[in-house]
């Protein structure tokens, strides 16, 4: 399994804007070609839904939700990180299931 650290793709310790998501998404998509991926938020400070929304939209534009279940894992540095990504994931699922 490949472990990727969000913090390695940021210019600073925060992930507050959607414009910071593409390099992370690109690295995830590349690594997924070779197997399971764990993306860790450890070491990142503030994270917004603008970042996590864009990150998930970019990753799941190329894969269905089912296709990445069990292949992409997330690890978090704080409960707020987890909650923020969880909100984006739920919103994305709703978006994908809406006609």
């Amino acid at each position: 399994m490949t472990t990727l650290r969000v913090v390695d793709y940021l210019d600073e310790l925060t992930a507050l804007g959607p414009e910071q998501a593409p390099p992370v998404a690109e690295a995830v998509l590349d690594a997924l070609q070779h197997g399971e991926v764990e993306l860790t938020f450890a070491g990142v400070q503030g994270v917004t839904t603008a970042f996590t929304n864009n990150l998930l939209l970019l990753i799941f534009a190329e894969h269905s939700l089912d296709a990445l279940r069990g292949r992409l894992h997330f690890r978090f540095g704080s409960r707020l990180h987890r909650e923020t990504l969880d909100r984006s994931m739920r919103a994305l699922k709703e978006l994908k299931s809406s006609p």
């Binding site: 917004t48 839904t49 894992h73």
Partner: protein, 303 residues
């Protein structure tokens, strides 16, 4: 013609203050929005005001800047009280309004971040607020992460939805260990923004929608409508205060221990606030996760 507006009351970070100030400057909002009005000579008199904080600075700075940009002459009579004059300087209000000295953020006793005008999220300003609080109080990692996320969410809203320049200003209050932050704009407002994607009946309905999960203006493809609900959740957990005002409606969450009170209603008779104002009273002394829950932050996220 001379238009004179006296701010002869105090402006705190409360629902009543947002109403009082919006109501008093209502004629100036009308002037600002009248494209062909004659150029007026406006005087804003603060000499009888004993206190104003970030709410007063945000609304007055935005309004005065807009009025001047529209060609009106705006003079401001400064407050008299020395403490308030000092705050006006540190917040950048004095420099903008009566050509006072520029703010000196690096002064060791400074408790204010100077007002910043922006149409884009600026992470440097978010860092400044965190730096200000850290200067006065020890913050744990959860606090830092939450404060950065809160500010990031609010500034993203200006960037995505305001359609106008917004402001952010913050002030540290040692007496109750809170940082009071206002992010505001006099732009489109929540109702107009959400009307792109929803049938919005009123400003009150717009606030209700904005605080609901997964209500997004879809102004950008990446918007999934999670920002303001997350702010609401975080402020509830913080047991702090949150005020969200737009048009003729205002929402408040007043943290009172474990029984916060929320209210959504009219701003006040014949009073509207253009754009959107969000005021936070964030408690630094409060543990955000005091429930000892087994919520494992490091575990995998299932979907």
């Amino acid at each position: 013609m001379r238009v004179r507006i006296a701010i002869d009351f105090n402006i705190d970070e409360t629902v009543n203050s947002v109403y009082m100030l919006s109501s008093r400057v209502q004629p100036l909002f009308v002037l600002r929005d009248a494209p062909h009005s004659t150029r007026e000579n406006i005087e804003v008199d603060l000499s009888a005001c004993d206190y104003f904080g970030p709410v007063g600075v945000a609304i007055l700075c935005l309004l005065i800047k807009d009025l001047r940009a529209a060609g009106h002459t705006v003079g401001v009579i400064p407050p008299v009280r020395p403490k308030l004059k000092a705050y006006a300087e540190y917040s950048g209000f004095a420099e903008l309004c009566w050509g006072g000295p520029p703010p000196s953020f690096d002064h060791p006793r400074n408790e204010t971040t100077p007002i910043v005008f922006a149409t884009q999220r600026r992470d440097s300003e978010i860092r400044r607020v965190v730096q200000l609080v850290q200067r006065h109080s020890a913050m744990n990692d959860d606090m830092i992460i939450s404060l950065q996320a809160l500010l990031g969410e609010l500034l993203m809203n200006i960037q995505d939805h305001a359609g106008a320049e917004g402001v952010m200003t913050a002030r540290w209050f040692p007496s109750d260990q809170t940082v009071r932050i206002v992010v505001a704009d006099l732009g489109m407002g929540l109702k107009n923004t959400l009307s792109r994607s929803y049938s919005v009946r009123s400003d009150r309905h717009a606030i209700e929608l904005a605080l609901s999960n997964r209500t997004s203006s879809r102004s950008q493809s990446r918007n999934l409508g999670e920002g303001l609900p997350l702010v609401h959740t975080m402020m509830t957990r913080n047991q702090g205060d949150l005020i969200l005002a737009s048009g003729d409606a205002i929402f408040s969450l007043i943290g009172q221990g474990r029984s916060p009170t929320t209210r959504l209603g009219a701003l006040g008779p014949q009073t509207t606030l253009p754009g959107t104002l969000c005021a936070l009273k964030f408690r630094i002394d409060h543990d955000l996760y005091d429930d000892d829950s087994n919520d494992d932050e490091s575990g995998a996220l299932e979907w």
